[in-house]
């Protein structure tokens, strides 16, 4: 449901060895392949029951929001803590704790009003003071050093955040970043207008109860009992039992301001992907809530289990073949385009992903509201080896006597090295397929020995000499803000694509004019068209996240997105 920015983003963080390169699966028409799912949202909701949810990877047992960066921990905390804004299944932001908001004329002040009915489970109202308290925690020096500060960015653009981070101030109220208007209304102040800041950052803040935590120094939050099991929350469910890193039990928050949840009890437990199909089949688990838990090769088996619905949803992210653009061999745009044409991506998706992915050829996947279509001018780079050969010829990569191409920058036969991470058969298969397709247009590719993800990440990030091409994937935030990945100076612009025109196009997507949504969308389209033409990396596909759930579980048709659960209070279980 909530916290999409983070959920999506952390998948990448965890990608470590798991989800990211894990290549999901699912046909592009995702929901159409859902099978017997037509009854899922029909009928009159009934109250009661216990819903057991499974995750393929263990969570870390600390539940103060943002204390832990694990996606699997957040899947749990989001049941108990609401964010300022939620999203709908089209990834539009909708009210949650914040009922309404408005921008000042200079777009530097954001006024937000909290829902008057929003209360903590102990009856205290959720107030402006709670929001301020939470923002101060996210900006604090302790959070941003020893607690790793992975979500410090949520308040980074607010005026004075750096002062709090370096310890010269302790509150946004002192730095001019926050003004309390009344108990339920507050203003946030920014140094400069930024059309992305609300959606990319502020919306995901999950307030914590200041009246409970204010007496505990942040440095001791890690070891506090509240962190191990929060006693006061504001979300649809509240904690009843935390059994270490094995399972969490929750019960409905009867006073939840967005409606009393239908399902009385939740159990969230860790089930290894090897055993998950069995547990789904015998009813021990009713649903998986992390996309990495179901392997593509298990889908056909799962579909045969009676009473189970399998639903693939296109992920908000993309897999790619990275190119170090400072290497002379990749400086000619025609070479990069040729590689994109040379890869038969639909075939790779069929073979490697069992059909559960959608080809992409630009930086935003089809699930994004800002996605540019062929009608907007996007080139889909459909598989075309003739075109690939022609482009390589034009780029001066002549074929030698043995049919393999000569790299004009060295005068030698080209030999491109591809690096990838170990431990995942899908990635290995991707690498082999790429090698074969490029071989077919005369480009020799050598697969370097796979390395563990941390090693690969470190080498790619530090521009290690051995890295020429590599395989990775990004999971994106709900808001399509390109900064972080695509600006010339971004640390995660691994290609080291330095292009002032691109930077300008990116600036257009968040500048003052972009507060107008249609302007912003056009700016995104312009940017995508440029990236699509420049091919700074070779886009492969957006994988599908695969969920399986019991037909007894009724999920409203509009309550689903690539970010998973949106409004758990509306779900119900047939008795």
């Amino acid at each position: 449901m909530k916290h999409l920015t983070k959920v999506a983003a952390t998948t990448v963080a965890l990608a470590g060895s798991l989800s990211i390169l894990l290549a999901g699966c699912g046909t592009s028409g995702s929901t159409s392949s859902a099978g017997n799912n037509t009854t899922s949202s029909a009928g009159t909701p009934v109250n009661g029951g216990t819903l057991t949810l499974a995750q393929g990877t263990k969570y870390d047992d600390q539940f103060i929001p943002d204390m832990d960066a694990s996606l699997y921990t957040m899947n749990i905390t989001q049941m108990a803590f609401d964010p300022l804004l939620n999203i709908d299944n089209k990834m539009n932001f909708v009210p949650d704790l914040v009922q309404s908001y408005s921008w000042s004329n200079d777009k530097k002040t954001l006024t937000m009003t909290l829902d008057p009915k929003a209360n903590w489970t102990d009856g205290q109202p959720v107030t402006s003071a709670d929001v301020l308290f939470t923002m101060n925690y996210l900006a604090s020096k302790v959070y941003n050093t020893t607690l790793q500060g992975q979500y410090g960015y949520l308040v980074g653009p607010v005026k004075g955040s750096s002062k709090i981070m370096n310890g010269t101030a302790t509150s946004f109220a002192q730095t001019g970043g926050f003004t309390q208007v009344n108990d339920k209304t507050f203003e946030l102040h920014f140094d400069k207008p930024d059309a992305a800041v609300l959606y990319a950052d502020i919306a995901s803040i999950q307030p914590v109860p200041s009246h409970i935590l204010k007496d505990i120094p942040i440095a001791q939050w890690q070891t506090s009992s509240f962190n191990k099991m929060p006693t006061v929350t504001d979300g649809a469910y509240k904690f009843t039992q935390v059994n270490g890193q094995d399972n969490v039990q929750m019960t409905a928050n009867a006073n939840y301001f967005r409606g009393n949840p239908h399902i009385t009890n939740l159990v969230i437990k860790t089930v290894t992907p090897d055993v998950l199909p069995g547990e789904l089949a015998n009813g021990d688990v009713q649903m998986n809530i992390d996309s990495g838990a179901i392997k593509p090769q298990d889908v056909s088996k799962l579909k045969q289990i009676p009473g189970l619905t399998v639903k693939p949803i296109v992920d908000n992210g993309f897999s790619y073949l990275g190119l170090k653009l400072y290497k002379p061999e990749f400086q000619n745009v025609k070479v990069r385009q040729a590689i994109e044409y040379a890869l038969n991506r639909p075939q790779m998706i069929q073979g490697i992903m069992k059909g559960y992915a959608t080809p992409v050829s630009g930086p935003l996947p089809p699930v994004s509201w800002a996605y540019a279509t062929p009608q907007d001018g996007m080139n889909l780079y459909n598989y075309n080896p003739t075109q690939a050969n022609q482009l390589l010829d034009e780029a001066g990569w002549k074929k030698g006597a043995n049919g393999m191409r000569i790299d004009p920058s060295t005068g030698q036969e080209a030999n491109l090295h591809l690096s990838y991470s170990s431990g995942n058969p899908t990635t290995q298969a991707e690498a082999v397929a790429i090698q074969q397709y490029l071989q077919a247009v005369g480009l020799k590719v050598t697969l370097d020995s796979p390395m563990d993800f941390n090693t690969l990440a470190q080498k790619v990030e530090t521009n290690d000499k051995s890295i020429q091409m590599w395989l990775m994937a990004w999971s994106l935030s709900v808001d399509p803000d390109p900064r972080g990945l695509w600006d010339s100076t971004d640390a995660m612009n691994f290609e080291r694509w330095k292009d002032p025109h691109n930077d300008q196009l990116i600036a257009d997507t968040w500048g003052a004019k972009a507060f107008d949504q249609s302007y912003r969308k056009q700016a995104f389209i312009n940017w995508q068209l440029y990236v699509n033409q420049q091919m700074p990396l070779n886009f492969l596909w957006a994988r599908d996240d695969i969920y399986a759930y019991s037909n007894k579980l009724h999920i409203p048709a509009n309550d689903w997105s690539s970010a998973g659960v949106l409004n758990p209070q509306q779900w119900w279980l047939q008795q």
Partner: protein
């Protein structure tokens, strides 16, 4: 014996010191660090964040400083904070060690309770039908990797029959976390380990007993006119147990290590999973602590094996 044990315990200190140095150096020789896997596109200034985290963790300091800092803190009881889970290392190791020890003790009980009696029965009537059946069965079991066995056990006992839980170390509901609940959850993984190791113990026992029963003193006992069962009990069995008991001592050393693959299959949060996740995540403080515990376990296990050796074999004296 007392001075021997004290001498051995003191001898462990330099050994442990060298082990920590070796682990520390190997750990830092692996490329990457815990923060390289933080790849969150939402973070606009990733470079600054990483710099801050590296400085806060002291990873920018010289290696000798980092080691010195770690060991001085460690001996004072401060085992540091996990880089990937941001919790005190001790709070992570506590439940993991408890789970692993329970699993290991249960497995060991099953191994001894099944393996030794089966071996004895085989030796009582070697090359009989029972011996052949068990031997065949043992070789088959011994050849199957235990994670394959584990999958079968999960399928039959958990998914199909629903007798034992398939996953986790703790269940749900009011009884969750009780001793019985823990034992219930540890049963299947313990059985998976035990089934394989049982065959080892039964083979050892059988072989050792046959070996002893050909000894001169056994023939002498028979010649004295002692009954067959008395000879078997007092002369053969006790002497045949010497290698078994020492093997048991060495097993103790492996107890704290956990079983990585098995723990993964059962989502059993033990030392094996904790360690492998720490290694993959370059979580140095956790790696150091678990390695040290493993080292202590092995050294203590060896000591126990040597002591047991002296206890069961009167010919061996250390003083």
């Amino acid at each position: 014996m007392g001075t021997y044990i004290v001498r051995r315990l003191l001898g462990m200190i330099p050994m442990l010191f060298l082990i920590t140095v070796a682990v520390f150096l190997m750990m830092h020789a692996a490329p990457g660090n815990a923060f390289d896997a933080i790849l969150n596109p939402g973070i606009k200034d990733m470079a600054a964040l990483k710099q801050r985290l590296i400085e806060s963790a002291g990873l920018n300091k010289p290696l000798w400083w980092q080691y010195g800092h770690w060991i001085t803190q460690f001996v004072q009881g401060n085992w540091g904070y996990s880089f990937t889970q941001h919790q005190p290392v001790i709070t992570l190791i506590g439940p993991a060690l408890r789970n692993t020890l329970l699993l290991a003790v249960m497995a060991e009980i099953m191994i001894l309770a099944i393996g030794i009696p089966v071996g004895i029965l085989q030796a009582r009537n070697p090359y009989g039908r029972f011996d052949y059946v068990i031997s065949t069965f043992s070789f088959v079991l011994f050849s199957v990797p235990y994670f394959i066995l584990a999958i079968f056990l999960i399928y039959f006992f958990a998914i199909d029959l629903g007798i034992f839980p398939a996953q986790g170390a703790v269940g749900t509901g009011p009884g969750a976390g009780s001793f019985v609940d823990h034992v219930d959850h540890a049963f299947l993984p313990a059985l998976a380990i035990a089934l394989v190791s049982t065959t080892v113990y039964s083979r050892y026992t059988r072989g050792s007993m046959l070996d002893v029963s050909r000894k001169d003193y056994v023939r002498t006992a028979y010649a004295k006119g002692l009954s067959g069962s008395l000879v078997f009990r007092k002369h053969v069995l006790r002497n045949a147990m010497i290698p078994i008991v020492t093997q048991f001592g060495y097993d103790i050393g492996g107890l704290v290590g956990g079983a990585v693959i098995l723990e993964g299959l059962f989502s059993y949060q033990g030392m094996g999973l904790l360690t492998i996740n720490a290694v993959n995540g370059r979580d140095y403080p956790v790696i150091m602590a678990t390695s040290l515990l493993f080292a202590v376990g092995v050294l203590i296990g060896n000591l126990v094996a040597d002591i047991l050796y002296a206890v069961v074999d009167p010919r061996i004296r250390y003083n």
